[in-house]
Structure formats: C-alpha cells, structure tokens
C-alpha cells in the first residue's frame, strides 16, 4: 500500500518590540542573567500585567501578511502548568478567543502552487531560559514575557520539501512586515512538526507524532524526512501508532521518544481586558504593510524584464529588494544591476557574513561603478576588483580608480607607442600572424595588456594592432 505523509507545523515567532509583552523591561538580547526583569515578568506576588500596544500591532500585521481574518474580539487566558522557566505557574496566552483565524500561505514546489491553510494565530508570552547542569538547573528570566506569536498551520503539508518552502515563505512575509527576525538559530522562530501517515487516497487522519527540537529549516526538513521513513517502517512491521512526542537529535539524525507535556488547562485571565479591534485600526496597519515578496517578485519580472529566478533571489528579503530598486532608479539597465548584485554583492555579503543593511556599497556607488564601465574608464574585469575594494572600504569606484591608478588607458597616442614597441619586440609573432595565424593577434593584445598592467582599453588595443598589421 502507498502512504502519504500528513504534516502540520506549529510555529512560534518572537515579535519585534522595544519592551516586553506586559511590562516595560527591555527585550534586548544578550544581557546578563536576570538583569531585565521586574515584579511583573518575575511573577512577584501582587504585580499586574498591562498589554504592550505594539505587541497587538505586530500580531495583527502577522495575521494580515498570512491572510488571516483578524477577529474583532480576542482575549487572554492563563495556561496553567508548573515548570521552573515559567515564573507565574501559568503562561499568558490566547486560547478561547485567539487574535486571528483562517489564513493561508501559498507556496510553489516543483512549479506547482499549493496552499497551506493556517488554522489560527494568537499572542502569548515567552518563558525564561533554563540551563541544565549536573544535579541542578539554573534559571534566567530575561526572556520571560517576551512577546510571541503562535501560528498553527492546518495539516496541509505533504513533504519535507513543502515544509521547507512553507517556512521560507512564512519567514519572508513576516520579515517583510517587520514583525520578527524569524531566525531559527537564535530562537526568534521555533517550529514543531506533527507528522502522520495515511493510505494514499483516503481522507482520514491517523495517529501523529509531534517532533520537537529542530533549530534550523534544514533540520526541520531532515527531521520530517526521518520521521516519515520511521513511521513507514513501523507500519510495515505492523506496529500500532501511538500518539507521542519525539525529539530530533541533529547529531545522529534521528528522532527519539521524549516525555511530552500533558495538555494544560486554560482559564480566562481576569487582570487583562479583551482586545477589541475596529476596521479602522486594522486598515491603518494594513496600509503600513509593504508589498509582499511574491507580489514584488512578479512585479520585478514585469517591470524590469528580469528572469523569474533573478526576481525570486532579489526579493528574498525586503532590504535586498529595496536596494535593487534603488539601484535601478539610478541606472537604467535592470538586468546588469541584477547580475552585479547576485554574483558579486551577494558573494561578498556571504563571505563577510553580513546583511545588506551593513553593506558599505550604497546603490549610488554601485550605479556609478557600472557607469564607469560603460564609459570605458575601467574594464569589466577590472571592475570586479574595484568592487571588492569598494565593499571593503566603502569608497566610490572613481576614487579607487584614481588612487590606485587603475584608470583604463583609452588615450590613442599613448597606446600607439606601446603597440609599436610590442610589435618590434615580437617579430616572429608578427610574421606568424601575417602568415594567417589569427591566434597570434590575441597574444599581442595580451602583451600590450601586460605592459599596461591591464589598464589598456582592450577594444582599442585590438583596433590599433589590426590597423598596424594590415
């Protein structure tokens, strides 16, 4: 019998704010332990939560870019369980009335468009950090009560590839909206996967396992692949499926059973009032949203006539897409710019492991450099080196060319002298050429270039040599 995998993802993203969800403690990463806490986020007796407005705005933006219906009324609940990273004995979450429902993300896998539905999206607070040591654990509450957005997708995903694509789309949409950094390695995006199998062609849902502890998209995909294989083996052996939680072990590349948490009861939170959103509020947030990656990519294809693959790379982040459009405004050959960005700029960024925002080459500088090539001031080849220099120093191309004496020699008189000298020094090659050995010309051009340390305008050298050798 053939089986298909049914995969549902549950994602938590940390939303970007200055202060925590219910108090004014800073959200900054990397502070000394327990230095960003107060009576509220420490859960001291008597302290009360007050909701950060920005948290609501960010969650609504997330809901909008994931095509969710934002509900007019949502409210907060206490999710009750005991764990040392949870200072109050309950987590403030939205259970009975979440912020948003019924969204979707469209993905493209193997050129097929698929829709992954989102069941609901809600706000909740993060817990503290535990450090396990021998015989004890240490608790840091700096992270406690940072704002999270939980996104629960319907089990519409059928493969690890689709899961990866879904996560990429979700991430780029949320990043575009400025909601979250969505960095899995740093924990600002976390993902659990529910995986089950069912006979192909049937509609019923079967017993699933929940897989946790993946810390990159790649690991999510690997863990899902492993889990599908494992379940197939298990089915073949005739084992009965049991609902349980499994932990991904990235070193061994396997999932192993772990103790899952019992479902925690929820009860409405009487210290926090409901969130009631009107159309106007939602519309104003909607108007602040940028064009989303998929739309922007399509517009790039149309407007700039670049290939789909280029558009997809250039719109992978909002900053990069903005950069590209800034360049295109200054220099009107979109494909040329696209090539420079995709080959040279992205390579350098990757090598230095920095983002486009930290890049020293401004759109103006890139445009100027390409203009220098067009004007014949530098060769395309030389420009590659100039670009690396620009990337390092942040200087303008013209400045670098001047300082390093890299300007192309397009002065005919100066070149004629060098050409003459070269011809005199290579009588044998000249003879060969005259005998019809066309390749000899290339050698001569090379010699001239060598003599000028590559600065001679190659087209002009060609022309001059051909003329002299006639």
């Amino acid at each position: 019998m053939e089986y298909e995998a049914i995969i549902g993802l549950e994602i938590h993203v940390q939303s970007k704010t200055e202060s925590k969800m219910f108090c004014s403690c800073s959200t900054e990463f990397g502070a000394p332990p327990n230095s960003q806490v107060c009576p509220v986020c420490l859960g001291l007796p008597g302290a009360l939560p007050v909701l950060n407005e920005k948290v609501v705005e960010q969650a609504v933006k997330a809901a909008l870019v994931l095509n969710c219906d934002v509900l007019k009324v949502s409210s907060f609940d206490k999710k009750i369980y005991f764990y040392p990273d949870l200072p109050k004995g309950y987590q403030i979450s939205q259970y009975y009335q979440p912020l948003a429902k019924s969204g979707y993300v469209d993905i493209k896998v193997k050129n097929k468009r698929r829709r992954v539905r989102i069941r609901h999206l809600h706000m909740e607070e993060d817990v503290g950090k535990l450090i396990h040591q021998k015989g004890m654990s240490l608790v840091d509450f700096n992270r406690a009560s940072l704002p999270l957005i939980e996104i629960v997708a319907e089990p519409d995903i059928r493969s690890s590839e689709e899961a990866g694509e879904f996560l990429m789309c979700l991430r780029s949409n949320l990043r575009y909206a400025g909601v979250s950094e969505c960095n899995m390695e740093e924990g600002s995006l976390r993902c659990d996967a529910n995986v089950s199998l069912r006979p192909l062609g049937t509609r019923k849902l079967y017993t699933k396992t929940e897989v946790k502890n993946m810390n990159s998209f790649k690991h999510v995909m690997k863990a899902i692949e492993y889990e599908i294989k494992r379940q197939k083996r298990s089915v073949k052996k005739g084992e009965a499926a049991v609902l349980h939680t499994r932990c991904w072990d990235p070193e061994r590349g396997v999932t192993v059973p772990m103790r899952g948490k019992a479902p925690a009861p929820c009860i409405s939170h009487s210290d926090l009032g409901p969130v009631i959103l009107d159309e106007e509020f939602i519309a104003s947030l909607r108007s602040q949203l940028p064009e989303l990656p998929l739309d922007r990519s399509e517009r790039f294809i149309q407007q700039y006539g670049i290939p789909a693959s280029d558009a997809s790379i250039l719109t992978s982040s909002k900053e990069l897409a903005d950069y590209y459009e800034e360049c295109v405004k200054l220099y009107k050959k979109p494909k040329v710019i696209a090539n420079w960005i995709m080959s040279d700029l992205l390579r350098e960024l990757k090598e230095k492991d920095i983002g486009i925002r930290e890049c020293k080459v401004s759109p103006e500088h890139l445009a100027e450099m390409i203009t220098l090539i067009d004007k014949g001031s530098i060769s395309g080849k030389m420009a590659k080196d100039v670009f690396v220099e620009m990337f390092e120093t942040g200087e303008k191309a013209s400045q670098i060319v001047k300082e390093k004496g890299l300007a192309q020699i397009s002065d005919k008189e100066a070149l004629v002298k060098i050409v003459d000298k070269t011809l005199q020094e290579n009588p044998k090659v000249v003879e060969d050429y005259k005998k019809g050995k066309e390749k000899a010309l290339g050698y001569l051009v090379g010699q001239v270039m060598k003599e000028t340390k590559g600065r001679a305008n190659p087209k002009l050298v060609n022309k001059l040599l051909e003329k002299k050798l006639k």
Binding site: G43, P45, G46, V50, P84, K88, F141, I267
Partner: protein, 486 residues
C-alpha cells in the same frame, strides 16, 4: 483622651495647629500596642523604628513649613497582603513567611507620597481565605470586644487594630466581604470601594476579579479622607478606572432627606441573629425618620450568589496561587528533584483552607462548564443590582448575619465557613461599593454592623448616608474595655 484614641481627622487638626507632633502620636500608638497586642494579636510585623523615623521626618517638614497633605504624619496599619518595599509581606502564609517585597504597591506609593506613617502589617486569613482570621499560619487575632471571639476576616487584624486603638487608620482588602464583615464584627467602619476605584497593583491576589483595597477606620470622615488618598487611576493596573476622583469629604453631609433607600427582602433570612436583625431595622427606621424614603426591593438571585462566589473565587485563587512554587521566592522545602520540590513546598507551605480552595478551584477550571455557569449567574446577580439601582440611591442590609462567633467554633466546616459572607459577597460579584458601619450592640456587648450598598462609583452616596446615620447615633464612639481578666 490619649492620642492613639483619636481619629485621623482629629489628629490632623492637632498636627496642623502644632499642638502635637507625628512622633508623639506614633509613640502613643506603639505604647498602646505594647500594652494590648499580646491579647489582640492584630499584627504580624511591626516596623517601629521606621515608623518613628518617618514620623520625625514629617515633623521636620512641618517645622520647615513645607506643604503637607491632610493625612501627613498619621499612623496607619496595612493588611499583610499589600507589598511595601523592603518589608516582609507574608499574606499570613508560611509559603511567604520570608518574602521581603522588593517593590511598593500603588496604594503604598500613594500613602508614602502623602506622608502617612506605616506602623506594621496586620494579620489576616492566609491569602485572605476566610472570614475569621483563624486561617492565619502565624497567630489567631482576638476580637477586642470579646477576646474569645473572632474579629471576622479576612482583614481581621486591620479591624481589630482599629477597634483596640492600636492604630489610627488601616487598610484592608475585600474579596467577598473581607473589609466589611470584620469591620462589622469589631464595631468599626469598613469601606469596599467600587472594583477599579483603587489600584490593585501590589495587592497579593486572592481572586483578581473580586479583590479591592479599602479603608478600615474609626469613623466615616476618616474613611473619606483615606479614600481621597488611595483612589484613582493607575496605569499599572489594567482594571483600574480612569474616572475622576471627587473630594470624598464633600459628601459628608448630615442630611438624607429624599434619599431613596432600598431594603432587599432577600437579606433578612432565616438563621440570622435576631439582635442583628433588630439593630439593622432600627437603623433603617431612624434613617426614615431623618427623611429618607425607604422601600422594600428584590434581588431574586441573591440565594445563588454564594455558590457563584464559591466557584469563581476558588478558580481564580487556584490560578493566582500557582505563583508559589518555591522557584523565585518564598518558602522552599528540601527536595531531591524538581517535582518533589513543587509538591513538598506547596504541601508544607499552604494551610488547610488554602489547599481546599486550590483543590476546588483546580477541579473547577479543569471542568470549564462549572466556571462558565458561575460567570453567567454572576451576570444575573449584577443585573439584579442594576435594576434596583434604577430606582434606589442605595441599599441597606445587615453586614453579617451574626455577631462575632467564638474562636474555633466553625473551623473545618467548609460550607458553614462561607455563611458569614452571604450578605457581602454579592457586592463583589457585581463590583459595586459597600460600607459597614456600627449600628448597635448585642446584649452580650458584641458590635453589629449595617451595610450600605450603591451603584458603581457612588461612594459619595454611601458616605453621605453613613455619615448622616453616624452623626445621629453614637455607636462609633464606643470603645471596648480590654481588661486583664479576659
């Protein structure tokens, strides 16, 4: 008359005229405490050094002719469920016996800004769960009128301290009657403001949707003066109301002509004490004679209020008490691993009544329909009041169905323990304000209180009626003789 026997407004006059200093008043209060505290046990923590230091600094301000607030220099006792920075805040529970709050509750901040002098923290039922102060993990507070009787609760310490002249002013908190009922049983004035009138930030929660802080005082004027200090919006409490705070002393007018008083039929029930009933009816008669219009009214869902309260309070309490796990603060029992630590800490840290409410509450929230049902009936109880207040300015009822009972008499009978709250609980469910003022004594010499209820934010009506009654009677001036023979 000794200074500690005066009211706050009397002391205020003397301080203003320069006839006494805050230090003298504070000293007289501590002298009294030294004399009677052994018999009353109203305090769990005393802060004499800090109090005297604060009193001297107020006196210094007065000497330097700096502007001071009306209650500056007046000693005040605080129920031990309100956080004062650097001071033990225990809720009379073992689980918090060493908890020194690192922050001030908003009411404490307000009192500090007005230069009141904190003399100590008063005893209470553990986490405010109870109506007798017998549920304190530390000590039993005695009723100054009969040392073998309970002072009521849960703010029993605050009420007893006022009745025995150990303090000039006190703060209590009221979740189901915890200010009004002990005030009634101790013969003092206790006001529960409208839910949202006084910030709860820094008040250790018993049941968040019902809790409210309020004054326990010797007379109605002191209540109004203290309300002026503690009321108002607080951005740290989402449930606090941004609603203007009047000068409550302006409603102290001895005139009830034309005031429409409703007397709810359901508040005169079987099982209530005859003497209590008579005192309250006499009081209503007096108000009628003074020109009030009295009318019988109906609050048909009253009989369901106690069951509703019981469910809501336990459910909220059990989640609010999830804070206490031995991780960040408070008591921690020695244990080999985490789960053991939770179990042992909570087993040893909480008393019997607290455990019972946690158990009930946990059962209820894991059976959500119970809670939902209670929330729905809560709506009905509230609507009863809404309807009645369309035609009445206020309601008058007994505060407690009986006077103070003997210590130990009702322990460990879970249902009877709720009985003292039957007349006070509905106001918490509806969020409306209520006051208890003395309205007589039983033949055995125990105080009886009457309760005045009004619609949300109508504290002024309550104060006016209470003041008028007080001015035409003298109950509030009686003081117990705490004699050695008792």
């Amino acid at each position: 008359m000794k200074l500690n026997e005066l009211t706050a407004h009397e002391i205020r006059e003397l301080i203003r005229k320069g006839e006494v200093s805050s230090e003298e008043v504070t000293k007289s209060v501590f002298e009294r405490i030294e004399k009677v505290e052994k018999k009353i046990n109203s305090f769990v923590t005393l802060t004499k050094e800090e109090a005297l230091r604060e009193a001297r600094s107020v006196d210094e301000k007065i000497r330097k002719k700096k502007k001071i607030s009306p209650l500056a220099g007046v000693p005040i006792a605080i129920k031990d469920n309100m956080c004062i920075d650097g001071v033990l805040t225990t809720c009379s529970s073992k689980i918090l016996e060493n908890f020194r709050s690192p922050y001030d509750a908003t009411v404490i901040k307000r009192l500090k800004a007005n230069d009141l002098v904190f003399i100590g923290k008063t005893n209470m039922d553990e986490f405010a769960m109870g109506s007798s102060t017998e549920n304190s993990a530390f000590e039993i507070t005695h009723n100054p009128w009969d040392l073998e009787a309970i002072p009521g609760g849960s703010s029993g310490g605050s009420a007893a301290t006022i009745a025995s002249d150990e303090a000039i002013l006190a703060l209590g908190s009221d979740t189901g009657g915890s200010i009004r009922q002990p005030a009634s049983l101790c013969g003092v004035v206790g006001l529960k403001p409208t839910y949202g009138r006084v910030s709860r930030y820094g008040l250790i929660a018993f049941a968040s949707s019902l809790d409210q802080i309020g004054p326990i005082t010797k007379d109605v004027r002191d209540s109004a003066l203290l309300m002026n200090v503690i009321s108002g919006y607080d951005e740290r409490d989402s449930t606090s109301c941004n609603y203007p705070v009047p000068d409550y002393t302006e409603s102290l007018i001895s005139d009830v002509k034309g005031v429409k008083i409703g007397v709810p039929k359901e508040y005169f029930v079987k099982g209530m004490d005859e003497e209590v009933e008579k005192s309250v009816k006499d009081a209503i008669g007096l108000l009628e004679k003074l020109g009030a219009k009295v009318e019988e009214v109906f609050l048909p869902h009253t009989e369901y209020a106690l069951a509703t309260y019981c469910l809501i309070v336990s459910t909220e309490a059990s989640t609010d008490l999830a804070y206490y796990d031995g991780v960040g603060y408070g008591y921690r029992a020695q244990s080999r691993n985490l789960d053991e630590m939770y179990q042992n800490t909570r087993e040893k840290g909480f008393g019997d009544e607290v455990k019972r409410r946690i158990m009930l509450g946990t059962y209820v929230f894991s059976h959500y329909d119970y809670y939902l049902k209670a929330q729905k009936v809560r709506t009905l109880v509230k609507e009863d009041f809404d309807k009645v207040f369309e035609k009445c300015d206020c309601l008058i009822t007994p505060t407690s169905p009986t006077p103070a009972f003997k210590i130990g008499e009702k322990m460990d009978d879970p249902l009877r323990m709720y009985f003292p709250d039957i007349f006070t609980v509905p106001a918490n469910l509806a969020g409306i304000p209520g006051i208890s003022i003395p309205c007589g004594f039983t033949k055995k010499g125990l105080p009886v209180g009457l309760q005045i209820l009004a619609k949300p934010f109508a504290e002024e009506t309550i104060l006016r009626v209470a003041y008028s009654y007080e001015q035409n009677t003298g109950w509030h001036r009686r003081r117990p003789a705490i004699c050695d023979s008792q």
